[in-house]
Amino acid sequence: MSVKQISVFVENRAGSLLDITTRLAERNINIRAVSLADTTRFGILRLIVDKVDECEKALREDGFTVSITNVLVVRLRDEPGGLSDAVRVLTENGFNIDYIYAFISHAVNDACVIFRVGDIEFAEKILTENGFKLFSDDDIMKI
């Protein structure tokens, strides 16, 4: 039950992020979660959006370099130790976490954390067995 994440290449130039966000706004695409790390030469913008297929198509048409990656969106208790529980389960099972970022939804009271790991199906199984709830693409569209 993974979720499709959109990655967009962002060059290090004034206005390049605005180009992307403007396109999404024009097409009425809502961003659920976003992450952009601080590097000197270029960036990779990672997005979780409500209409993922439409978003991908629109960005490709506009000539952006785009890829789709499956990530896990895990619901966590919004209280101290919530994230730590999930990270512990993954770590104890030998996972190397590539990156995480998070958002809080108004629809559910939990915190939502996006995990990118290597063997995503196995991670999903482990987390589910340990009682964590995961979002699907449909859930993301609805919240």
Binding site: S7, F9, N12, R41, F42, I44, G63, T65, V66, S67
Partner: protein, 440 residues
């Protein structure tokens, strides 16, 4: 000149193309004398120039005496615009061509009837050597007009007996339609236009229906890597030919099917390689600036013309049987050579690296800067493939690979910047890929 009819053999003028080196040199000497006499007696500007250099035509006794003659440049042609250097009376001139003249007045070349015949034959040798045959349907997608390319190929392919389709450039959908409906087998175009047409044919879903088998490309440089890409895209054999408006247009040299250098039509064009800084003639095999003396031109003779093109010559025999000397593909021009940290760098070298790297597009821009009194080169390329967006480290590894490859080819270090697709400016004519900020 006895001309053999073409009948399926590999040569257009076999005797001329396969004569012994001694005989070539003998012929070159006779024709050089004729040309210098013509320049001296018919063109006041050249007489003055030769007088100032203390040279008279009777001083040309051996081929090496050509070195006594001064070199000529585009400047001479500019000063005498438009007809000042013609050696035939205007009423004998039957056709005119010019350079594109992107900077200032164009170069004007004139042709007598004999010149046109010679031009057609020189080009016919090249297209036959490249593999064109009487059965071919040849679509000429060069722009017709003052530019020499379209007419040169037109005359040549018609002499060979091909069905010539003089469609000119532009209206690309129509080009593809004609290609499909007529069953075009030979495409004459610039390499970049050929790439564009091949992509369009794919988009229109007719790429598989085309019968193209041979591309005769010219007018801009086609690196081996670019050629490989075109051959992969549309499955045709690509050959290059070379010429300059100043030398009567295309027809100076071209590749045979062996594609091991371009055979110079040496009985009509005498080549030398010089050191571009000193003007000194370099031994065969060394790289330098190509200097050409046309040997048979009536209307527009010139001697020791500096082409600004960098190449080298070699006269060892070619597998095709031609004894004509060969030149390498032009590696660059003296006026687009960059000197970075004291090292000579040609944009074509950078292009050859970029074309072989995965994940990036064929467009690039070079930015030169001065940082703490040191030159720096930044190469900008477009990231066109999203598959590396998974991890920063993959993109960094790609940058690193490009940089390492450039370092090994250029001999200097440079920065590599990945930019978004379609952000580097596209050029329809001459590309301006260099931004030099060192003196700003």
């Amino acid at each position: 000149m006895a001309k053999e009819r073409f009948d399926g053999r590999m040569f257009w003028e076999k005797d001329a193309e396969t004569m012994s080196r001694a005989k070539i040199r003998q012929l070159q000497l006779e024709r050089l004398k004729w040309t210098i006499n013509r320049c001296y007696n018919n063109v006041p500007y050249y007489k003055d120039m030769l007088d100032k250099a203390g040279v008279t035509p009777d001083m040309i006794k051996t081929l090496d005496d050509i070195r006594r003659l001064p070199l000529t440049t585009k400047e001479e042609l500019r000063k005498n615009y438009p007809f000042g250097l013609f050696a035939s009376p205007k009423e004998d001139i039957v056709e005119i061509h010019t350079s594109s003249g992107t900077t200032g007045k164009p170069i004007v070349g004139g042709y007598t009837k004999n010149d046109l015949e010679l031009w057609g034959n020189c080009m016919a040798r090249l297209v036959v050597a490249a593999g064109a045959r009487r059965e071919d349907i040849a679509q000429i997608s060069f722009g017709y007009g003052l530019f020499t390319g379209a007419f040169g190929l037109h005359y040549a392919l018609q002499k060979v007996g091909c069905m010539v389709v003089p469609i000119s450039s532009g209206n690309s959908e129509r080009q593809i339609m004609i290609m499909e409906d007529f069953g075009t087998t030979v495409l004459v175009a610039t390499p970049s236009y050929a790439v564009y047409l091949s992509e369009l044919a794919k988009d229109m879903g007719v790429a598989d229906k085309l019968k193209l088998r041979l591309g005769l490309f010219g007018s801009e440089m086609c690196t081996p890597e670019m050629r490989a890409q075109i051959e992969k895209n549309i499955g045709i054999i690509v050959t290059d030919n070379y010429g300059l408006t100043e030398l009567g247009g295309c027809g100076v040299s071209g590749e045979c099917e062996e594609r091991q250098g371009l055979h110079i039509n040496e009985d009509h064009f005498y080549p030398e390689i010089i050191d571009p800084d000193t003007g000194e003639v370099l031994p065969e095999g060394e790289e330098g600036e190509l200097v050409i003396t046309p040997l048979s031109k009536e209307a527009f003779p010139i001697f020791r013309y500096r082409t600004k093109d960098i190449t080298r010559l070699y006269s060892n025999p070619c597998k095709c049987g031609r004894t004509l000397i060969r030149m390498d593909k032009v590696v660059g021009r003296t006026d687009d050579m960059l000197i970075i940290k004291g090292v000579n760098v040609f944009p074509s070298q950078i292009e050859s690296v970029i074309f072989t790297m995965p994940h990036i597009g064929p467009h690039y821009q070079l930015v030169l800067r001065k940082e703490r009194f040191m030159d720096s080169l930044e190469v900008q390329v477009e990231l066109i493939d999203g598959s590396l967006l998974e991890q920063y480290s993959k993109l960094e590894a790609l940058q690193h690979r490009i940089r390492e490859k450039l370092r090994s080819v250029l001999g200097i270090d440079c920065g590599v910047t990945l930019v978004a697709p379609r952000t580097i400016t596209r050029f329809e004519g001459k590309a301006k890929r260099i931004v030099d900020l060192r003196n700003s």
